[in-house]
Every structure is written in C-alpha cells, then in structure tokens.
C-alpha cells in the first residue's frame, strides 16, 4: 500500500489523510487487485480514502446506498460497511464469507430489524428498516495491527 506512511501514526491510526479516485472494489476477504470487475456490477461511483492503518474504498450505488470497504496494508479486505435506503448485494459484498452468512444459526427470538453473527473469523451486524438499512461485517483475524473494531463504521 504505497499511500500509507507510518509517520502518520502521530495523528492517530484512523486519521484520514487523503482522498483518491481509484477504480477497485473487493468483497470481504478478497484482494484489492483481483476484483476490479466487481465495481462495475455496483454501477456506482467510487472514492478511496487512505488512513494510516488501512484504506477505505467507498462506493455510492445508484440507489443511494454507501458501501465502504476496509483494506489492510496487505491488500486484503478485512471489513465492509453499508448504509442506505437499499440493502446492497451481500453475496458480492461479503465475498467468500457469504456462505457463513447464510449458514449462520437463527437467534432464539428472531427479529426483522436486527441480525448478528459472531464467529471467530466472521462478525456480521445488520440493522435497520425499510428505507434505512445499515450493517457491517469483518474478519477479526484479518484486522491490521492498531485497528480497533470501533474504527469500522
């Protein structure tokens, strides 16, 4: 990740330092340089924000939903976040973790406005209602050093 400079740590791990326009998007667990075609499927505009410990690739879909993808210095996507009026395509957004998403056990008292999965390598939190959906998913094992779960938002 050539944009990242460790001296920026002085300003905090998640401090945003620059914004670039780069055509790339990968699902959770995917590699940044392997899935540029995915961005075409989203038909959205993409903005890349570079922070000290990770880069954020942000796609605004035509439906108005924002999908943010957190990329580690290794080039691997360790978290995805979505917020907006329509649920994004989670098969694409969750990448190789989509199977774990669909295989996850149901809660004892299910609820249409909330859903959560907590597994050693996959945490997903989905929330909201019609016209306002939000959620995030990450792999705790892929979190770069110095990145807190609260940075994923």
């Amino acid at each position: 990740m050539k944009f990242i400079r460790s001296r920026r740590w002085a300003f905090g791990a998640a401090l945003l330092i620059q914004v670039l326009w780069v055509p790339a998007f990968a699902g959770l667990g995917g590699n940044l340089d392997s899935v540029e075609a995915d961005q075409l499927k989203m038909k959205g505009t993409l903005r890349t924000t570079v922070a000290a410990a990770f880069t954020v690739h942000e796609i605004q879909t035509p439906a108005g939903t924002l999908v943010r993808e957190y990329v580690a210095p290794t080039g691997k996507v360790f978290a995805v976040v979505w917020r907006g009026p329509k649920m994004p395509d989670l098969r694409q957004t969750l990448g190789t973790y989509f199977q774990q998403f669909t295989d996850a056990p149901r809660p004892l008292h299910p609820n249409h406005a909330h859903f959560a999965i907590t597994q050693p390598n996959f945490v997903l939190q989905s929330s909201g209602h019609m016209r306002a959906y939000s959620g995030r998913a990450y792999d705790p094992l892929l979190l770069p050093q110095g990145v807190a779960v609260t940075d994923i938002k």
Binding site: P85, N111, H112, A113, A116, Q125, H129, M130, K153
Partner: protein, 393 residues
C-alpha cells in the same frame, strides 16, 4: 412528573383516559391496564408467542383481505405483526386457503410483478396482488399487497437471495402469518421484478404499483395510526391486549392531546436519540423491534443475544426530532435470561434490551410502546399537529 406516575401507577390509567393518550408514563411502571380503545377506527392488538411460538414483544392484529369489489370472497388472517418500521401488508401464502387467489398485479406485458422484501435478518419473496383490505372497522380498496411464499414463485432469484442471510417465506421462518407495515411512509421502496420465461429481472415500478401502507388507502382516518398498549410489571406478562387506532385527530378517540411531536427525516424515517452522552442520528421508534436496541459495551450480552446485566439497570435516553423537539425517557434493562427463566410464558417485557448492531442507531422497540400511546403520522399527510412524517407520544 415521571416519578409521580411510577409511584402511583393507577394515575397512568386516569391520565391516559383523561387526555386522550398524551401522557408520558414510566416504562418501569407497575401493573396497569388501559381499556382498549373503542370505535370503528380501531382494531384489537394482541401480544402472544405467535404462530412460531418464538415471539416475544410482538404485537399482532387480524386482517381481512377480499377480492377487489367483493365482500364475500375473502380471507381473514390472524397474527399479522404490526410494524411501524415497514410499509405495506404482506401475508404468507400458506396462512390463506390454497383455493383463495387474489388478482396478481401485472406489468404492461401481462407479467406478474414480484417483490423481494428485505429485512435486516432476511428476505421474503413473492408476487404483488391487489386486495380490498379491512382492519377493524376501516377498509381500503384495491391496495397492492405482497403474497410471500407463493407456490407460483417458489424460489427467489439470486439477486434477491443475495440480500439476506435466509429466505423467510414460511410462517415459521417469518415468525408471523404476515406483517402490517403502518410506518410513516406509503410506499415500501423495495426491489421489484418480473420473471418472463422463468428468469427474473429488476423493474422500476410506478408508485401506484408498489406495495403500500393500507392506512393511507382508508376513506377516512388515513393520516396515521396510534399503537396503544398497556404497561406491564417488571416480571413481564404472559398475554397483553391493546388497540391499533387509525387516524390522528380525526375522531374523538385519536386526538393528539398533550403528546409531543418528533418529526422524522423525510427520506429515512429516522430521528436522533442521545444516550450515554452520544447522539445516534440513525435512530428509530419501531413496534417491529422486540427489544430496545442500543450500543453499550458495559452491559454483558447473554447467549440469547439480549443484554444480561447482573442487576436491573435504570437508564435514560433523549429523543430529539428533526424539529428539535426533545425529551428524556427512562427505561429499564433486566437480565434477559432471568426474565425468560422466571416467566417462561412471558411474551411482553418492558425491560428487554439488546446490543445494537449499528454504531449510529438507538432503536426504541416494542418495550417503549408498553404503557404509552405511540402516534405515527404518514409522510405528507395532514394532521392537527402538522404534516407527517412524525412520531408523537
């Protein structure tokens, strides 16, 4: 004032009756019963374990759907979840007679329009049909509704199933015989498809084609609803009945009284709630949420997914509308495992809470509705308190 009501719960009943529902009551209050509202613009609400026997804090209503123009070719379906967080009526196909068929909504080429409804916990797939709807004493004609799990459209396309963890197309999966979305909007803004030659593709429906909040289609009392539920004790209740009242300020039984109006974001239906000195700007008041959901890493979570503090907590959160109307509300958080263990048949708990997934959301769910009249005004509809979208209590 709130403390007084907590000390003298009987006063809650008197106040609610006296001022038409504008009073504020403490969520942790004692055992009171609010007489169900009466009138042609009301429908009974029931909280029970539901058809799946798994429901807690879920309010159900009975709905009758008829062939458009008919008063005899009808189906009456009980245990339809009342949800102020969604818009439109959806019924699981298996909850109706297999010989009962409503006319499908079609595009210009005669293809049936099918919807993929997305909830945070899954998707529901099924065709849009047109029905005359009766709820309590109110009726709406030729309203688009969704028939979930129709055998004619058994399997959702990948584009639909890719938006949820599971497909919830049966009564057991869905947790109800259907859902009645009576939130602050008319259309659901969902994903719509047609499926010529077995292959489904998304379409852009007209507003009139979208599944719609039936309340907006009533001849009168069509500007919103009031969910009226009695309070329960801290131990919870094994059954509870209340009322769904249609209209705001249109009849003697639905005046705003002294209720405070909190306007909602016209795009999202959200407002702001401040808790623990943090403002959560994507917050909402939702009868379809079975607990109060909020972020508080200091409270332990148990295996049921709810909060399980070592002792019951008394907390406060401040609701602020887009109009800057703002008030603090107290609520309790009990140990969910203890609640369920001590009251195995309990279905209504005012102190059930759970961790919120979204870092920007505080969700006052059904516990907030217990012992309170919650008004929801539909966007752009006129009420004595101004136009919707708003909530009031």
């Amino acid at each position: 004032m709130r403390r007084l009501i907590a000390l003298f719960p009987v006063a809650v009943v008197f106040m609610l009756a006296a001022c038409g529902g504008g009073g504020s009551s403490d969520l942790g209050g004692g055992s009171t019963t609010t007489p169900p509202a009466s009138g042609s613009n009301t429908a009974p609400l029931t909280i029970d374990a539901g058809p799946s026997q798994e429901s807690v804090n879920t309010a159900f209503v009975t709905v009758t759907v008829c062939q458009p123009g008919s008063t005899t070719n009808c189906q009456t379906v009980d245990h339809i979840e009342v949800d102020t967080g969604s818009y439109g009526l959806r019924i699981i196909a298996s909850a109706m007679s297999s010989s009962f068929a409503l006319p499908p909504e079609t595009d210009g080429s005669g293809n049936t329009i099918v919807e993929c409804t997305v909830f945070a916990d899954g998707v529901s797939w099924g065709p849009v049909a047109t029905a005359d709807i009766t709820i309590g004493g109110e009726s709406a004609s030729s309203v688009p509704i969704q028939i979930i799990g129709s055998s004619s459209f058994a399997t959702p396309p990948t584009d639909c199933s890719s938006r949820g963890s599971v497909v919830e197309d049966t009564v057991g999966e869905f947790g109800a015989n259907g859902i009645l979305g009576v939130g602050a909007f008319v259309q659901d803004d969902g994903f719509y498809y047609t499926c010529p030659q077995e292959s489904c593709a998304q379409i852009e429906p007209t507003l009139a084609e979208e599944v719609a909040n039936p309340v907006a289609g009533f001849a009168t009392d069509n500007n919103g609803v009031i969910v009226e539920l009695p309070s329960v004790t801290a131990a919870g209740s094994a059954t509870l009945t209340g009322s769904l009242v249609f209209g705001i300020g249109t009849q003697s039984n639905n005046s705003l009284g002294t209720a405070t109006i909190y306007t909602l974001d016209p795009d999202t239906g959200n407002l702001s709630i401040t808790f623990n000195n943090s403002a959560f700007s994507s917050s909402f008041i939702d009868s379809g949420s079975n607990a109060n959901y909020f972020v508080d890493s200091a409270i332990p979570t148990c295996t049921s997914g709810f909060f399980c503090p070592t002792s019951t907590l008394s907390l406060s959160a401040t609701i602020t509308g887009i109009n800057d109307a703002s008030n603090a509300f107290t609520f309790s958080v009990a140990n969910a495992d203890s609640l369920f263990d001590n009251n195995p048949s309990g279905v209504a708990f005012n102190n059930l809470a759970a961790p919120e997934s979204d870092s920007d959301t505080f969700d006052f769910g059904l516990p907030f509705f217990l012992g309170r009249f919650v008004y929801t005004a539909i966007a752009d509809e006129s009420t004595p308190g101004g136009n919707g979208p708003y909530v009031a209590f």
